[in-house]
Structures are given as structure tokens and as C-alpha cells.
Amino acid sequence: MTLPLLEVKDLQVEFKTYEGELKVLNGVSLTVKHGEKVGLVGETGCGKSITMQSIMGILPCPPGKITGGKVMFKGQSILRIVENELKGIRVRGISYIPQDPMSGLNPVFKIGTQVKDVIKFNRRDSERANGKHIRETIMDAFKKVKLPDPERISQNYPVQLSGGMQQRVLIAMALVTNPELLIADEPGTALDVSIQDQILELLKELVLKENVSILIITHNLGVVRTLADKVYVMYAGNIVEEGRTSDLFEDPRHPYTRGLLASIPKITGGGVAEGIRGRIPSYLNPPEGCRFYPRCDYAMSGCEKQRPLLFEVEQDHKVACFLYKGE
């Protein structure tokens, strides 16, 4: 078994707030192997953004606090505390594509300037640093993301570009450092559906062509279904189900996953989509056992006191639910 590219093991994170300490991440584990497209899915507030920030090393501490677990990239631990708001200790090999393109680009600088700086500060020592080389790299990257008229765009300010083009610029910036892993935060959510589709297709293509792995953080099941090979379903700070995309969508096991899929309105088949009753638990005093217990229709007596670990139900398909214990 080859070493996974990215491995998160049992990550625990707390957040200190005015009301008290929020136990946000309750032991999150996931892996991304070389060439894999992995999706991390969960509703707003489940902790997926915090997971991503911990991986990237941009979790603000305080108020955040990493209380346990490991994050390994290519076998090396990259988990670290960042105290200074401005210090960015980047991990070579991982690139981040932010959620909202408009706020991801600095509004008062030209596009070209921003991309150039990314290149300048990320080149390996062996690479040349002259202007011509940088310009070529930028043009290359822009062509890869299918931006029309790269010269002009380089001279433009972000406000002059449409949302879709801004997103492509951000993807280009991510690629320009030749990463091995892309982390995409809610790709396309800030855009119109048709543009979002284009961006997702672009990402699919790029992942193949550039030979990168990608970790997609999203609340949108559709995005996951399009892009990902493997899916982790997250709820209230825990991974509740993980497996191949096809397996998960055809045969969801965890009550939460089932509820999620049932909530998707279907064009065919009629009927109103059902939601899941209840709300996510308070992180201030989370339930001791399974965090989904208060909302679960299949709850059993043991679920309240003990937190279920991941049980394997079929090959590469694991569920954190006592219903499947011992299968």
C-alpha cells in the first residue's frame, strides 16, 4: 500500500468563545491518495471548514485550539499552530482554491501582480526568476484554465472580471505552484449554476491532465457526485460515513446520509422532498455518544452513551453507526 498523500487522523479541535469552549471537531479522519478525487460533504456548521483550515494551517489559534490528532502530508506532519495572524507557513505541494472568488482576490491590485507574486514566492531554488519566465508561466496557467485573452486579463483588476473568470484565475494561481494536492472550498457555490458546471468540468479535466489530487469541501451533494471518487460525509464534527461515490449514492447506510439523499428534490418521481427533523447539536455541550442521536429515527439504547466508530459494511465503505456493528 502506497503512502497516502494526505492523511488526517483523529483530529480534534476546540474553539474558545464568549459562551464557552466549543468542541467542534470530535476525531476526524480522512485520507487522500495520489490521483484521488475526494469529497468532504456536510451541512453548514458541521466543521468541514475548520477541518480544511487545520489542514492548511490557517486556523486562527486563538480562538481555535487543536487538542488532538495528526495531519500528515507525504508522510510528514504538517499540523501546526499559527499564532501570528499574518504568518503563512505554507505546505509545499498543497494549493488552496477559496470559495468566493470576489473576496479571494485582492481588489486593489492587478491580476497579473497577484499571480506574479505567487510565482515569485513559491519557486523552487532551481527555477529561474526572470520576468520572461514568470510571464510565460502566467500565460500558460491562464491557458490551462481556459481564460480568453490572458494578456488583457493580466492587466485587469478583479472588479472587471465576471465571477466565473475570477474563479478561473484563482484556479490558475493554485496550479502555478505545481501542487500535488488541491483543496477546493465550495467550488462554484458563489456562481450561477451554469458557470458552476463549467468550473466543475474544468476541475475534472485539470485533475486528469495535471496529475493532481483534489480534496473538495462542499455542502452540495451534486458537486460531490460530479467530481469525487471517494466521499466522506461529515456531521457535527464527526465523519459518519465514507466510501466510493457510487456506493454511497446507491446504497447510503448511515441514517444521516440517508436523510441527506432523501432531501434532494427529484425531478422524476414526484413527491415533496423530506428534510431531516431537528437541528445540529450545540457544540458547547455535545451529546456524549453519537452526535446524531437526537435526530435519528433508528436510535437504539446504546447510541446515547457511546460514540460509534467506523464499521466496515463492504469493501471501502465504512459507517459510524451501531446499526452496522459486527457486519
Binding site: M56, I58, N84, E85, L86, K87, G88, I89, R90, S95, Y96, P98, Q99, D100, S103, G104, L105, N106, P107, V108, F109, D117, V118, F121, N122, Y157, V159, Q160, L170, M173, T177
Partner: protein, 339 residues
């Protein structure tokens, strides 16, 4: 190119505002109770003399006609005669104006450099003692009214410590440099008269600082807040994730967007400076335009008052205009969006 169109738009709006101010001032003066001619001549004058003056001042004609005469005179540079000293108002102004401009320019200089510096320091060392003390100083600057600063500074440095002069522009016996711009410091610099320059600076420092205290405090506070707000923005996170070094993030990517609110606020600050110069000049015995203005007000010299208010309003509007241009230069969103 888009900048040019923005420039044109703002210029038109500025001219409109200037016209508006002139109307306002005119109406204000005419609408206030009291007969201007009577006020000018005093209670001793006969009714005939008053009538005579009223004719000459066009006071018996309909309001809009009066405005017309007045505006015409204005555009020709004629601000009328001071009803008190009988000198040409324009002449009086020319004499006193440069001193005030000098004071204000210095105050702006101090304000911008010190204010920005404090703000950046406070943001860099956020939540440390440096930040805390700067915030305290800023608070003191804003809460302690400028004329109190003037009095305290005068008291401490001028009297108790006796290291600064207590008034005027130049010490007795120091010769004025050849009048080029009317601003003693620049004239002295240009004519190579370093001793005069030094003396002039010594006289200039305390009043300039008093004027600038409020502005320093505001500039520091706004810069600090703006920087610490922007640090949380996505584009900074992205820059961090791409390992852009702290210095570059701080002084390039964070600074420029954060300066925008500070500069925008500067416009209002400048208006306040011009107004505050009134009292500061009084306290420091600075022979400037504001002191002249107060003189006109105390003497109920209507033409003088009109001229002063007009000038102050005009400066304010023009300065705001300049500030708007600077902001548009710094923030492409503004000039590009309006296009």
C-alpha cells in the same frame, strides 16, 4: 481613461457644490435680522446715510438680483470692502492667507505621517503594549479638544519649560525672508536663510501639533481598524496559504486596501482642520486668515464674514475633491464601477 471620466464627473459635482455654498451663504447673510447698511454704519449714522449705502449695496432690489451682483463681483475677484476697516477684503485676505495655509499644510503633514505610522504600528503589534499605548494616545487625541491641546502645549512647552516661543510667527528681531509664496518656511528655505527657517519652524510646531491631534488620533484608529478587519478577509488568507512572506502581505497587500478608509476620512479631517485653525490661531497669536475671520465676526463686518465663510467652504470642497481623486486612484472599484 476611466480615471479621466471620473475626474470630469467629480469636477462638475464640485462646481455645483461651490455654487450651492455661495447661494447658501448669500441667503444666510441677507436673511439674518438686521439691516446690513445700518450695522455697518452704526447707530450714529443718519437715515440718509443708511439709505445711501443701501442703494450702493443694491439692498433694495429683489434678492436674486442682489445675488447676481454679488456673484458677478465674486468672479471678478471682488469681495467687497470690509465694512469695518474699509480696506478691500481681497487685499486683507491676501495678506493673511498664506500664514494659515502654511499652518494647515504643516498640520496635514504631521497628521498623515504620524497618524499612518501609529496606525500601522498598532496593527502590526496588535494586542501588545505598543498597540495599547497607541490606542490610548489616540483616544486622548480625539477626546481632548484641540484648543485644550493648544493651551496645554503652550503652558508646558512655552511657559513651564520655556523651550518654545509662545506666539507669533517669528521671534522679534528675526527678519522676514523675501516674500515669494508668503509662507515663511518655504520662502526661508528657498532663499537659503536657514536661521530664519529654524526660527519659523519653532514657531510653527506647537500650533501645527495642536491642530493635528484630533486627526492623528482618527487616522491611527481608522488605519488600525481597517487593517485588522482586512486581515481576516479571504484574499489575505489566500496570500497566506501561498506562503507570501509576512512583510509583503503587511506592507503591500494589506496596507493598500486599508488606506482607503483613512484617506477617505482625511477629507473631512481637512475641513475640521480649517475650522479649528480659527481657535488655534487665536491662542498662538498666529497672524493668519482665521484670526482675521474672527475679527470680522466680532466686528459684524458682513462682507468680511461672507468672504471668510466662502473661502473656508471653498477650501473644504476643493480638498474633498482632491481626496476623492486620491481615493479613486487607490481603489479601482470606485472608478471602474461608476463608469
Amino acid at each position: 481613461m476611466e480615471f479621466l471620466s471620473y475626474l470630469v464627473r467629480r469636477s462638475i459635482s464640485m462646481i455645483a457644490t461651490l455654487i450651492g455654498i455661495s447661494v447658501l451663504i448669500f441667503l444666510l447673510i441677507r436673511v439674518m435680522p438686521g439691516d446690513p447698511a445700518r450695522l455697518a454704519l452704526g447707530t450714529q449714522a443718519t437715515q440718509d446715510m443708511v439709505e445711501d449705502l443701501r442703494q450702493r449695496m443694491h439692498l433694495n432690489e429683489p434678492l436674486h438680483k442682489q445675488y447676481y451682483y454679488w456673484a458677478k463681483g465674486l468672479l471678478q475677484g471682488d469681495l467687497g470692502r470690509s465694512l469695518y476697516s474699509y480696506r478691500n477684503v481681497t487685499q486683507d485676505l491676501k495678506e493673511f492667507f498664506p500664514a494659515t495655509i502654511e499652518l494647515i499644510l504643516f498640520a496635514i503633514l504631521i497628521l498623515v505621517t504620524v497618524g499612518l505610522l501609529f496606525g500601522i504600528l498598532a496593527a502590526s503589534y496588535k494586542d501588545t503594549w505598543i498597540d495599547g499605548s497607541i490606542r490610548f494616545i489616540a483616544y486622548a487625541g480625539v477626546s481632548i479638544p484641540y484648543f485644550l491641546w493648544a493651551i496645554f502645549l503652550l503652558l508646558i512647552f512655552g511657559y513651564f519649560l520655556d523651550i518654545m516661543p509662545t506666539g507669533g510667527r517669528l521671534s522679534a528681531g528675526v527678519k522676514m525672508p523675501p516674500p515669494l509664496t508668503g509662507m515663511v518656511t518655504i520662502d526661508a528655505l528657498v532663499s537659503g536663510n536657514l536661521l530664519t527657517l529654524l526660527d519659523a519652524l519653532k514657531h510653527l510646531i506647537l500650533p501645527a501639533i495642536s491642530l493635528s491631534t484630533g486627526g492623528i488620533a482618527t487616522a491611527a484608529r481608522v488605519t488600525r481598524t481597517s487593517m485588522s478587519d482586512n486581515v481576516k478577509k479571504d484574499y489575505i488568507q489566500v496570500a497566506k496559504s501561498f506562503n507570501i512572506p509576512r512583510n509583503v502581505i503587511m506592507y503591500k497587500y494589506l496596507l493598500k486596501p486599508s488606506l482607503i478608509p483613512t484617506v477617505a476620512l482625511l477629507g473631512m479631517q481637512l475641513g475640521v482642520l480649517v475650522a479649528n485653525a480659527f481657535l488655534v490661531e487665536l491662542i498662538f497669536n498666529w497672524p493668519g486668515f482665521s484670526r482675521y475671520g474672527i475679527g470680522t465676526m466680532l466686528n459684524k463686518d458682513l462682507n468680511g464674514i461672507t468672504a471668510v465663510v466662502l473661502i473656508v467652504g471653498g477650501i473644504y470642497v476643493i480638498m474633498n475633491f482632491v481626496v476623492d481623486l486620491i481615493v479613486a486612484y487607490l481603489d479601482p472599484r470606485i472608478r471602474l464601477r461608476e463608469a
